[in-house]
Subunit: 205 residues, 2 copies
DNA sequence: CGGATAATGTAAACACCATTTACAATGATT
DNA sequence: AATCATTGTAAATGGTGTTTACATTATCCG
């Protein structure tokens, strides 16, 4: 019979060890980001949420940035998975491209907390090579699709870069409400599908 | 004969008043952002750079966020100016659209510090209506161009949103080095011009 | 099994930071 | 010249990131 789970697993009262402090800290951080924005997160408060002293996190992370970076990494991995899933769902090449873009847009919506940490926390990504690696791998997927879609490598590169930028830009603008603010109405990711379709369907001559 | 200007105007030794503390603080903040990233800025250090006590900033800004917000506002205004300039430079409608996009890309490069504060500082923009207003005005420009460029309002909206997103996405990816990292070589904004041209030249049927 | 050792926690301390308060110096106005 | 708003200071408060020395627990090896 499992103990009732809090949103963030706290250390049990009489215990000395927490059990899974690392993931608890990440959850706590994400919760703080969700509630107070990408800058509203402090290690101390996360420690408190996990029921642990303020020095405990340093057994699991070099410093605050390292915790943030690991969350970002988790986010990139999550995003990668969702994109893979949507590509593997098959369909025509064109549909694969569109679906992977839609997966990106849905990710920005459904995991706004991760998205904030990934793109708005001001993290120095170059200090964390594993993240760089994931970003490049992400572009690799897009580039592969584009190469099949276009006749020449040069066209493929243009196609890949612009598709990536368009999707990322849409996700960004959507993420901080610029789109719905501009339109004066709420927008679901699905409503952006035509934008993506039009873009993908246009030939590069 | 003007006094030799430091990068950030410091208070003169014997003086009690600074003279232009407000802009000095903004310059100091921008410098810190430039040198240490969007999170590497503290009011205390900015005060020190301006040669003033840590309480002085509060005569000019409600709090730290208000200073950040004002810098962001300056950035939006600067961007607006550059876009206006490039639109007014004339040329065909198509060229106006492309040139305003290029102005955006150049801005992200030449004013990376402002760009960071505007889009990566995690500022709560909804708390600062003047910024919201500027963002909407920016979209207004794009929407106007798109309306002239397309036959129907619906097409114009799609055109406007996707153009905005593409340009913003390119600027973002360029800003944090994702593009050059992916290509394995440096990229100048000019090298992105073909991406923009192809996009604008594609008809929406 | 039991003891050594690694892993994981705590408490206390440090320097820094954002912000407030009471007060001082200066500038502007009548 | 007296008055009052503006703009600065010093000192204090409570929060933060991080380190250090020490305590507890888990793990591994004889």
């Amino acid at each position: 019979m499992p103990v009732k789970k809090a949103i963030v697993q706290r250390k049990a009262k009489g215990e000395y060890h927490h059990g899974d402090l690392k993931t608890s800290l990440k959850q706590a951080a994400l919760r703080l980001v969700r509630e107070r924005g990408p800058r509203g997160f402090s290690l101390n408060e996360a420690s408190r949420l996990a029921g642990v002293s303020v020095a405990a996190p340093y057994r699991h992370f070099d410093d605050k940035d390292a915790l943030l970076a690991e969350i970002a990494r988790d986010g990139y991995e999550l995003l990668k998975l969702e994109i893979y899933k949507s590509v593997e769902k098959g369909g025509s090449l064109r549909d694969q491209i569109i679906e992977s873009g839609m997966a990106y847009l849905r990710f920005a919506r459904n995991h706004a907390d991760y998205f904030s940490v990934m793109f708005q926390s001001g993290l120095n990504r170059s200090k964390y090579p594993e993240i760089e690696r994931l970003v490049k791998a992400g572009l690799g997927v897009i580039l592969d699709l584009a190469k099949q879609y276009e006749r020449t490598p040069a066209l493929a590169e243009v196609r890949a870069v612009s598709t990536w930028a368009l999707v990322h830009g849409l996700a960004m603008l959507d993420h901080d409400g610029a789109l719905s603010a501009a339109a004066g109405k709420a927008r679901s990711p699905e409503q952006l599908r035509p934008v993506l379709e039009r873009f993908v369907d246009q030939p590069y001559n």
